[in-house]
Symmetry: C2
Subunit: 392 residues, 2 copies
């Protein structure tokens, strides 16, 4: 049951909008005629603001309505909303609106206009995702493959003809079957030899990293996925069935000769590893942006630091650590500052990667470091002389 | 001089919206109270439609307005528009609206709502681009690097912190400095050895392909960019200055020991090559989706076919041809059908590639073929027995 919104803007020479015999009155009348040519009546409501701006509302008994807002600074916006049956086509089509756009430009002597694609609202399958930078992206989802609510969050797998099945947690984009570039970046983009190596994955519920590593003769891979409210067991179960383009067969059994998937809170396990002196050649932090291992508490903000700290503790000398995060709001800069201020010196490398379904670039780091977006870091031999962090 | 639009939707049990003492009247009043909590007065206009749906309009003397539309099928939309000074922040913030969203959900017993990021209208630097699939994508442009109007189209280079400088022709996304993946795909993704080979580029005004080939010791590269209304000379000039992340220094001179850039209509030149028996090891068709070599005519639709036909004529035996196009509206399927029906048999391979700044996947073809989105094709030795086209 969708409503389609058309948003149309015109940059206008302010003189056209001035109140004068040949100015605003005329152009308002002409604009209203154009709106009425869409089968709308009105204006049924008209407001003049203190600054001379106007708002006119039109509607049709079939349920469509439009608002025409004139800003005297030189902007006119026309918003049209119409009801479209699910799977149907709008009665007032893009072609008709293209014609209306041209008529408006003539009336307003406007050289610059903007017509967005229809914004579809109330669709059974919402196509819009907001990126970490608060930008809007429209996807081509055509069906819901899986949807369940855990007590903590909504888990959804949607199918996109372009990207394959795509995992969303609380409507946040996680990973799609198209996104092997993510897995490669989180495992060193082909530069590493995992043969006979011990690897620890934190998170990784979609199974991409585990599958990729198991193809490369590691000594042992431990995957530690959070057990919080059974949430990630549900993700693993859904991935096993519906994200096989990512996890392939690696979740068909949760343990094997050279791997073990543990669904447990990672902090106590990492603490135990640290106490036992157990170490890894590689630690791959694939937890979501703010790792969740317990109910949110006042020190939740310190949790990423804690996990970084524990991860470096269980990393072998010259071991490597990868992580990831959003390339926005100065997160990479803050993270780099944090890395430079670690007590234990680390070298790190940042790589910015395009993940097909993300619609944002993601930085990945290499050579000792920490998390939040994308990092790979190498723990430095304490015997080495300190060197400053270097970027590639 | 932007206006910010907030679009907020609620999926609602239709019973809440029914006209009854405890139904619609109550919920309407409660909804109006929530809208008024944003500092808006009203409703200053209220309509009840035949189907029982309602439209209520609110406004504030400072120039903001809101429309509240109730669809009895179970959808409520709230649209708010407010004026924001260029570079400023909206007075009614995302946080306030998040609170309003929660209040509405309570009033409406709605379990599912959707709040899009603010749609910014009339910005000096329009952030929205419509993809070939008619989807909306929001970019992070922060400045206009170059803008000129040729008699035929608008040429613009915008800067994006994520993607670098990005070329738009008539507001259509062309290529950004981040997009070396495009150049790689159009030259065989590293599988080809161009040493001592003759290559013909059709189009390629951003210089990416030319630069990439010149790094690989070709015998000679000819680039044939359309001269139409001087448009592409302007693109080359702009690329030379502002897309150096793509073309590097390859346009600093338009000819050299092993390359020549000709700004000419490609059809007559290809026809002359065919008459002269001049052939190439590789032909790379990097023209825009519908190549433009003359004023649009009734046979414009045949132009891509003509260019494909001529390209195959100037291709050496076992030569290869690449092209590209949009992955939408069955274009790939239609193109593949066309390839299969060519008189001269061709083998082809399709590769679907993510170009960082495109926000769409692009198919690229290899092994004999044609154009529109992305193809590489190999001209088959006429002595070979015919084999059916194969996909990878």
């Amino acid at each position: 049951m969708p409503a389609y919104n058309l948003l149309l803007d015109f940059h206008v020479p302010p003189t056209i909008l001035e109140t004068s015999e040949n100015g605003k009155v005329t152009s308002n009348q002409e604009m209203h005629n154009v709106v009425r040519s869409l089968g709308l009546q009105g204006p049924t409501s008209a407001v003049t603001f203190q600054d001379g701006g106007t708002l006119a509302v039109f509607h049709n008994e079939d349920g469509s309505h439009a608002t025409l807002r004139v800003y005297p600074q030189g902007l006119v916006t026309l918003d049209l909303q119409q009801w479209v049956e699910e799977g149907g086509e709008p009665k007032i089509t893009g072609e008709v609106l293209s014609d209306v756009e041209q008529k408006f430009k003539r009336v307003l002597s406007s050289k610059k206009s903007k017509r967005l694609p229809f914004i579809k609202r109330g669709l059974r399958l919402d196509p819009y995702i907001t990126t970490t930078s608060e930008h809007i992206v429209e996807y081509d989802f055509d069906r819901v493959v899986y949807e369940e609510n855990s007590p903590y969050q909504n888990i959804k797998i949607l199918h996109s003809p372009q990207y394959g099945n795509l995992l969303l947690l609380d409507d946040d984009q996680n990973l799609a079957e198209s996104d092997v570039a993510y897995t490669y970046a989180m495992t060193g983009n082909g530069r590493e030899d995992f043969t006979n190596k011990d690897v620890l994955i934190l998170g990784g519920g979609d199974g991409g990293i585990l599958y990729h590593l198991l193809q490369q003769n590691p000594k042992f891979v431990t995957m530690l996925e959070i057990s919080f409210y059974n949430m990630y067991q549900m993700v693993i179960d859904a991935a096993t069935k519906y994200l096989r383009g990512i996890c392939h067969d690696c979740f068909d059994s949760l343990s094997g000769d050279n791997y073990l998937v543990r669904v447990e809170d990672c902090v106590p396990v990492l603490e135990q590893y640290a106490r036992d002196g157990k170490t890894f050649d590689y630690v791959i932090n694939d937890l979501t942006d703010i790792p969740i291992a317990q109910e949110p508490t006042e020190d939740e903000c310190d949790l990423p630091d804690k996990i970084l700290d524990l991860s470096l503790k269980v990393l072998k000398n010259k071991g490597k650590y990868w992580t990831h995060g959003a390339n926005t709001n100065n997160v990479p800069q803050k993270f780099e500052e944090h890395l430079k201020n670690l007590l234990q010196p680390v070298d790190f490398l940042k790589e910015v990667i395009a993940i097909p379904s993300y619609h944002e670039l993601y930085p990945f780091y290499v050579d000792e470091g920490a998390f939040l977006w994308a990092l790979c870091c190498e723990s430095r031999d304490p015997q080495d002389t300190a060197v400053s962090s270097s970027y590639k």
